[in-house]
Amino acid sequence: MRIKIRYFGQFRDITSKHEEYITVKEGITVSEIREHIKNIYPKIAAKSEILVAVNGNFGSLDQVIEEKDEVAFFPPVSGG
């Protein structure tokens, strides 16, 4: 299935992309998709903290991703 991935902050600079679609197996979890992204982008893998949100919510690592879901990757936030 194809999943929409979004990147923010420093991760957008690393990937040079705001978003992309990637093909993954059915039933993939947040944890597995994070490993997948780390394999594609070693510079993200090197970061000490990688935050993942599913449909705009911080999800648990074992949450299963559905095809219509939007998964966002970003570093620790720094607003305020």
């Binding site: 570093p75 936030v77 607003g79 305020g80």
Partner: protein
């Protein structure tokens, strides 16, 4: 009111709107762009936001603060885009019957915002551009 916007924050308008007959005080926090960050001079700042998620997180923080503290109303406005030194970044206003609850709620909101609202700051400096906290890695 919860808002993410590029334009300047109309602080007086927010203060007028949040005033109500029940509240005896309004506590505010205004975050602005500093010209010095650690060891370098900042000329500008770029702020990026994951809008849908940030709005949801801000609504959640406001609800939590209203449950936790005895306050009447909380308004939060955060800017994004390109800002200059001294520009306003974030404005929080809390109205309550007495001052202590408003101060406590205001501190809670800015602390939670800094922890979990998906907003990122990039400092534009003469030595290059750095995402805030990037230099700590």
């Amino acid at each position: 009111m919860i808002k993410l916007q590029k334009e300047e924050i109309d602080i007086l308008d927010i203060l007028e709107r949040i005033k109500n007959p029940e509240s005896g005080g309004i506590v505010t926090f205004l975050g602005t762009v500093r010209e010095n960050s650690k060891d370098h001079v900042v000329s500008k700042m770029e702020i990026e936001v994951y809008e849908d998620m940030a709005l949801r997180q801000l609504e959640a923080i406001r609800s939590e603060a209203k449950e936790k503290f005895d306050v009447h109303e909380i308004n939060i406005v955060h800017r994004y885009g390109e800002l200059n030194v001294q520009d306003n970044i974030v404005f929080i206003a809390v109205a309550s019957r007495h001052r202590k609850e408003a101060f406590d709620a205001c501190i809670f909101v800015i602390n939670e915002l800094k922890k979990r609202v998906p907003i990122w700051k990039k400092e534009i400096t003469p030595e290059g551009n750095f995402w805030v906290d990037e230099k700590n890695e």
